[in-house]
Symmetry: D2
Subunit: 340 residues, 4 copies
């Protein structure tokens, strides 16, 4: 990191900073500029708290140089990580083929789930999404079918071969969800639920990690690092829109995250245009854009009767719309030398 002293900082203050740096086991390098002095810190300060140096007298600000994550970094592993999804269709995220995960927001009933599962498989999906435990903003809203929902997901896998992707909301649910699911999803609201990150890192099923609604990419990658540092390196990063002042969407889908994440991490990137816009009529365009931008996977809410969906009807597309979208992205994937 670089410690920038205030204009007029005294030699004694600079000396004190040098001493604090040395106390941390790091080397200092003092540079006298024409207006200010800066102290460059030499050594692996990745896990040191820059904040303490900001408290020292005469210090104006501290600027980190090194990225604070390591295992998620491309510096450690150059080639893209490929995550096998499970199920019997051989779906993967991170390979040359864009992997598509689709299904209802919530598992509601056997009929609903199987109808949707068959339809999305038919159109080319390799994974089935569907919430059994639902994080709901409102305590009085439908909270999911819990284990009953997980059983239905397992049944749908048996019938279709689709890999099951479903959310785990709490440490105490991890074992149960891992018993039924192929992929554990950590939702946006739990991206910094560090106990949950640790727990999914200590089991072996792949994890689909959603970006928090106002997380920076650095925080996002540090959340992945939590999981990886406990032994599970099968992490997929899912951009699902960030909170901004925009009001025509539920979230602002930040597609530049795709090339940026590819630049700094080896983990594959999935786009969620359903949460990422909140409007079914914007989903198709954003799926197209995501594939063109280089996304490794898509996760999409599909419902056979959105008007009666128990959750998120407004952002669900129908099986027919899904089929058309798949045809469209297949052509775009080819145009960028991939498949879908």
């Amino acid at each position: 990191m670089i410690v920038v002293m205030k204009v007029g900082a005294s030699p004694k203050q600079v000396q004190h900073v040098v001493q604090l740096v040395n106390e941390m086991g790091l080397k200092d390098h003092v540079i006298q500029g024409t207006e200010r002095t800066v102290v460059a810190v030499i050594g692996n300060d990745r896990f040191k708290d820059p904040s303490v140096l900001e408290s020292a007298e005469g210090v104006d600000k501290v600027m980190p140089i090194l990225a604070p994550y390591k295992m998620a970094s491309k510096e450690v592993k150059k080639e893209r990580t490929v995550v096998p999804l499970g199920g019997t269709l051989g779906g993967k995220i991170g390979s040359q083929k864009v992997g598509v995960i689709a299904g209802p927001c919530s598992v509601e009933s056997k009929t609903q789930l199987l109808e949707i599962a068959h339809a999305v498989k038919e159109s080319g999906a390799v994974g089935l999404r569907g919430g059994a435990f639902k994080p709901r903003t409102n305590p009085y809203s439908f909270q999911g079918l819990a284990e009953k929902g997980l059983e239905l997901l397992a049944l749908a896998r048996q019938e279709t071969g689709l890999a099951v992707v479903t959310e785990v909301m709490a440490v105490e649910q991890v074992a149960l969800v891992a018993k039924y699911a192929d992929v554990l999803q950590v939702g946006a609201r739990n991206m910094q639920n560090f106990n949950l990150l640790t727990a999914v890192g200590e089991q072996s099923k792949p994890v689909l990690l959603k970006r928090g609604m106002s997380a920076t990419l650095e925080e996002f990658l540090l959340a992945a690092e939590y999981i990886m540092s406990r032994g599970n390196s099968l992490v997929m990063l899912c951009e699902r829109g960030i909170r901004t002042y925009e009001d025509y969407v539920r979230n602002t889908l930040a597609l530049a995250a795709v090339p940026e994440l590819h630049r700094v991490t080896h983990l594959p990137v999935v786009i969620d245009p359903s949460q990422g816009t909140g409007k079914s009529y914007l989903v198709d365009s954003m799926c197209r854009a995501a594939v063109a931008a280089g996304a490794d996977g898509l996760i999409i809410e599909v419902h056979n009767d959105p008007e009666h969906a128990m959750t998120d009807g407004a952002q669900s597309i129908t099986p027919q719309q899904f089929a058309e979208m798949m045809r469209a992205i297949r052509r775009i994937a080819q145009a960028v030398d991939r498949e879908a």
Copy 2:
């Protein structure tokens, strides 16, 4: 809620919306405007999902009318809730006297904690903050002393009479933390950890609920409603800054939340200017502003040696600065007909 039809929506589409509304057990009221038709929904639709109506053909948008929370609402209870903090000093949040909670970001050692505790008590604090379980963005950072930290907090209470306020990060920690602490804090990152909200709602110690870093006030109040709906009505709302594009602060402290929350809820409001700015040199001014704006309490990070603090040194003030700040806010409290 109000369902706004698209320009040129057909009578059949309007009729279909009416039918969906009736299916929900609600009454409709169709209004033909000069350009558009709207369907007003009559009845308690507070817990209905407006999203499904957005999926119906011919619908442009759906606008909710009723606030989705109930127990937290001023409509249910007019007078301000007063939360007794515990400890032996009789501190309260929500009364005529502004209650001040102060202490280190993290509990680091017996000497550190006791020295700070005595100092802040001396200056007028009624609660002692200090993290034993620390939510850290980086998996390699100091994660807190855990139960050892809770024991030290209990010791500090014994020596000073200060009420102990400390964070609980996971469902499985609730019983342990509740055994030692007087007030359970739910951190910003866990504001929508619904399992945790439920768990703290099912025990009886007061809860200090921090606003999520990009939560709306409605989401904030729904998080409080989660706790209250499980039986615990002793909830304090803590504004700790929101994430914006601003770069001279760690967070943007949104002080208008104080009068707005007082307008819509009976729950008391606490301001955290340490997290709310991230800069020790801005804390004093923001404490002053918070009290003038009508805050019921303050929670402030104080450290006897910020340069060597294990966490958040840059936003901690010293015991001396704290003492001066207390003198300042005491005068301001009087000027707004309160005490501090």
Copy 3:
């Protein structure tokens, strides 16, 4: 609009609102809900100020129903507006072919401009961008070559046939810029410079209107309405990224604006991935995504020597990178049944 009364509003307060509505020349329609009364306002209230009703006693909030713009709206004109760019290459924005405008951030010299102009034409651009008047955040930065720059742009058009697109920053520059340029650009910082909007609306050259850095789409369309309401309907809407908390980009490129604008307006949509990311290494992916999302045009910063560019070197791509990008988007355009 819909006026929502507070819980417990008195009949007299409702009556007063009805009277205010009638004073505005509009009809009222009072609806008694189970918990609240709302007053629906019937008639064209598009140009009435909802704010005044919010001041009336007993009113909780006022919700607009009608979009406040008219000429820019798809309700008035269904088919996409096609804007001919000028020059001799027949470039258009809004047609089946995606129109690409490229060139340096600033016009710096004859050699620089001609070299870049020839290169981008060769690769398929139809318009040449280049600033002669530069809006600079810092008063001490290079402010552009002014009329000399305009002359060079005209020369480049003569040599290449490219249409000239350049920014006009002030009312007093409009006539001068219109004399040389084919398209007048209004920059993001001037999106709500209403005098400038009026001035470019009163001349006949097409206008490329950039979205303000934190403008809503409604404000954006109202800015277009300013221009159109003065007689000039040749307006192109340019999304160039919005300001958010994200720090790996200069701006967050909100590509969902493409399908949303196509849904509500007939004006064509241009994407600026250079400003929209601020990083040359993200430009290619975002161009691809923009075309896949349905953008009608692109505007891209290209420099033959970014290391010595006088402005915005970090977001400029080279002529070689531009040529490759054009090949890529041509394939994507075909995959979405367009050309580029």
Copy 4:
């Protein structure tokens, strides 16, 4: 500035950066870290474009050290600038006494203006605000009385002694507005209208500069620098709320800007709680908070009949509410050793 090389950057790439730095007339200082090399740039690089170095091969990022403004900086002038407002009441902004400017959003009529002017003067205001030229988002809205409005403002000054503060929207209005007004206001939408900034910098009346709705403090100070660099140093900085995702307010009032601006600039700081919240019922609390936070002045919208105000009724308080607010802030000002 500090140029951070990528991991594995070659010596040749480092050498090339050194050469670019030297070409700029600056000195280099290369530091070999354990993981990365950084090049510290020595000398006054305040007006150099860091962006060009970002384009060089092997460069990861460039971090500026020096603030890009100079005349607005506290490094140049330590003591607070005091701006005399004009009029005959001797009002000032920046002195020990908090200066209050109040009046209607728009000048509507002689009766309206004089009634409000007398009332606010009675309660202790020293300046009269009122728009004659109104920047309106909607082209069909009331645009102000123009010169007629300026004449009424001058009349109100004659009758009350209040200094006249009014907005100038365009270069061509500067001379006219300066003829009538005591203080020229530059609105938030024009904060980066550089031609206008230059024009108000070239005349001698004080300028009230509003912060752009998503401007950083650095951009805000650079806008002030534009004015000061043309010879006018009488600039007041006005925080009026920033655009965030919050929806209970029109803007989020960022009061930490008060102590932060006082830390980095000598220019006085004015708070606008009317624009800064958009809700009349939040104005009083925010005025109190602003004074407690150390604001040098307030600018407040007051209307004698908000329900019939031609603009911004919802955020205007009545003369009675203003009188009460003045009594409240007078007590708070004393509590922070100031007057109001």
